[in-house]
C-alpha cells in the first residue's frame, strides 16, 4: 500500500485524479483520499512540519502498516535553483539541526529520476525569501513526516519527491494554487512511474501456515518453550521447501497426533525435528 502525504490540495490534485482516488466522506481530521482497491491512500496535511507530522501519524495509525509491502511518499513543492522533480537523500530540520536519511536503495532512473536529480533538503518553518545555499532545496514538511513515519516504517520504505516551484519569495502570496497545481501536473507521470516500479519491491514472502502451527501445537500439548521450538521447525521446513503436512499426517495415522500426554507430545516434537534435519 502507498501512503502519500501532500501539504496542499493543489499539490495533490493531479495525483488524486490520476490515481482515481475517492474522498473519504467520514469525518476525518485531515482531508483523506483512497483507492477503491486499497492500494493507495493520500492525505492533505496542511503546511509546516507539525501539521505534516500529525497527519502522517494519523494516516499510518488509521490504516496500519506492514513493513514489507508499504511505502510512504511525500510529494510536494519546494524552493530551489534547479527546476524539475528531485529525489531527496538527506533532510535537515532547520529548527533542531538534526539530519535524517531515507535509504537510497532503488534505482529510479528509468522512471525519470536519475541520480543527478537527487538533492539534500532543508525543512524550514516558513516560506524562504531566498536560497541560503543554492545547492539545497527548502520546504516545510519533510522532517516532520520523516520523524513521524520512522515510528512505523523503515527508512527504505520512505520516499521524498519534491518539485521546484520557486527560488524563494519575499511574499508567500506570490506562490499561487494554480502555480503549485501546474507544477504537480508536470511531475504526475514520473510519480506514477515510480509507484509502479516500487510495487515490484513489495512482493510478500511465503510465511508459516500459522493455523496449522497452532493446531499442531495444541494437539501436541506443548509448553510455551516447546511451542517456540515447533515454530522454529515450521520456519526451517519452509526455507528448505519441506512440506510438513505429510509428516504430520504420518503422526496422525500412527495415532500419535493428537498426543495423549505432554510427554508424548514432546516425543513427537523430537521426532519431527529429527525428520526435518
Amino acid at each position: 500500500m502507498f501512503f502519500i502525504v501532500c501539504a496542499l490540495t493543489a499539490e495533490a490534485r493531479p495525483l488524486i485524479s490520476a490515481l482515481s482516488l475517492r474522498r473519504d466522506d467520514n469525518a476525518c481530521p485531515y482531508e483523506t483520499y483512497f483507492a477503491e482497491d486499497c492500494s493507495c491512500v493520500l492525505c492533505i496535511s496542511g503546511m509546516g512540519p507539525v501539521a505534516a507530522s500529525s497527519a502522517t501519524t494519523y494516516l499510518l495509525t488509521r490504516f496500519g502498516t506492514k513493513n514489507e509491502t508499504d511505502f510512504l511518499i511525500n510529494f510536494g513543492s519546494c524552493a530551489g535553483k534547479d527546476p524539475g522533480l528531485h529525489l531527496i537523500h538527506k533532510i535537515t530540520d532547520s529548527t533542531t539541526g538534526r539530519d535524517f536519511y531515507p535509504d537510497m536503495l532503488y534505482d529510479l532512473s528509468s522512471c525519470g529520476l536519475p541520480s543527478s536529480s537527487e538533492k539534500a533538503l532543508v525543512t524550514v518553518s516558513k516560506v524562504v525569501a531566498s536560497l541560503e545555499d543554492p545547492n539545497l532545496l527548502y520546504e516545510m514538511e519533510a522532517s516532520g513526516i520523516f520523524q513521524a513515519a520512522s515510528r512505523f516504517l523503515p527508512p527504505h520504505r520512505m520516499l521524498f519527491l519534491k518539485y521546484v516551484s520557486d527560488q524563494g519569495v519575499d511574499d508567500p502570496k506570490k506562490i499561487t494554487s494554480a502555480m503549485l497545481q501546474e507544477g504537480a501536473e508536470k511531475q504526475t507521470s514520473t510519480v506514477l512511474s515510480v509507484m509502479k516500479k516500487l510495487e515490484e519491491a513489495c512482493k510478500e514472502e511465503p510465511s508459516v501456515d500459522e493455523d496449522l502451527f497452532l493446531s499442531t501445537a495444541l494437539s501436541l500439548r506443548l509448553s510455551e518453550t516447546m511451542r517456540y521450538e515447533l515454530h522454529q521447525l515450521f520456519e526451517y521446513a519452509l526455507t528448505e521447501n519441506i512440506d510438513i503436512r505429510p509428516i504430520l499426517d504420518d503422526f496422525e495415522n500412527q495415532g500419535r497426533l493428537p498426543a495423549g500426554t505432554k510427554k508424548e507430545g514432546k516425543a513427537v516434537l523430537y521426532e519431527l525435528r529429527q525428520k526435518l534435519i
Binding site: N67, K90, Y101, D103, H156, S207, L238, T239, I277
Partner: protein, 342 residues
Amino acid sequence: MSSDKSLYNFPFSHIYVEERAKEHPLTKEILTRYKKSQVIPIRHHKDVFNRPRQSFLLQKGAPSLILARNPGASVFRGAPVCQDFGYDHFYYCSTARNCIFDCEYCFLRGMYGSGNVVIFVDLENTFSEVEALLKEHPVYLCVSYDTDLLALENLTGSVARWIEFTREHEDLTIEIRTKSFRKDIFEKIPPCDRVIFAYTLSPQEIIDRYEKRTSSLSDRLSAASFAMEKGFPVRLCFDPLIYCKNWKDIYSSMFSEAQKYIDFHQLKDVSVGSFRISSEYIRKIRKDFPGSSICQFPYENHGGVMEYPENIKNEMENTVVTLLQTLISKEKIYRIDLEENI
C-alpha cells in the same frame, strides 16, 4: 523482496562522508574512484549506520559506503567464541564494518543493524593503539574480523599497510582472514612471517548456496597456495563447518580439491569449528532473514551460544579433525572449545 537487480542501485552508489573524515587522504582517494556516486556529507557515521529498522537484506543488494573516522577504541580483546590459536594476548581490531561479500551465516548480520559498509579511514590511529598495547606485551591481532580487508584492498590499501606495520613491530603477529581470490598483494609486498593469511574454506556447494559474491573454493585454494609460495604463513579455517544432509560427501570432495593445491605440511596451522552464533544475534537474524535455512535451522542453545545438536556437531568436527590428522601434524590442528574459552 524482489530479486530484480534493475530495481536496485549499484553498490556504493551513495557514499556518506563524515565531516571530520572528508579531508583525510584516503577519503579523497576513494572518492576519486567513485565519480558516479552521490556523495552525501554527514555529521557522524552512526547517523546513517545506526538508523533504526534498516533492512540488512536489502542493503546487501545495494550497499552504501560510509567513510568515517574511528570514534573511539578500535582494538578489542578476542571473543570467547573465536579461536586464539594458543596466543596469550589475543585481540581483534575494527577498521571497517561489514564487507562486500554476502554470507548468509555471517555474525555481522546479527551484530549490526545495517548492511552498509563503513570504512574508518584513520588507520594510523589504530596503529597508535596497537603500539600502546605492544609496550605492555606481545600482541596477536586479528585485523579482518568485522570485514574482509583483502576484498577491500583495492579501496583501502590497508592490508599492505598492516603488513608493513607488522614488519616494523617484532612483537606483533597479525591474522588476515579472507574469502578473497586476490593474489597480487603477495607479489607486491615482501613476506613477513608474522602476517598470517587465513583462508576460510567451504565446499563449493556451501559457497554457492550461502556465501554469495565470495570467490570459489578453487580460487581461494589457488590464492592460499600462491601466498605460501611467496613465503607468507597460511592458515586454513574449516570454520564454520556448515551442516547439510550430504555434508560428508561435500566436505570429502572439498578436502580432495584442497590437496590438489595445498601441501598441508607447509601450512602454519588449521582451525576446525562447526557453525555457532550468539543467541542474541540469531534472534535478530531470524527476524531479518526469514527465508534463510541456515538462519532458521533449529539450533540448540548452549550457554547463550547457538550450535548444532551435539551429535551433529561432534560428528562433523570429529570427521574433519580425523581427516586432517592424516594430512598435518596434530599440534597444528586447532579445534574450538567453547567451554574452555568461556
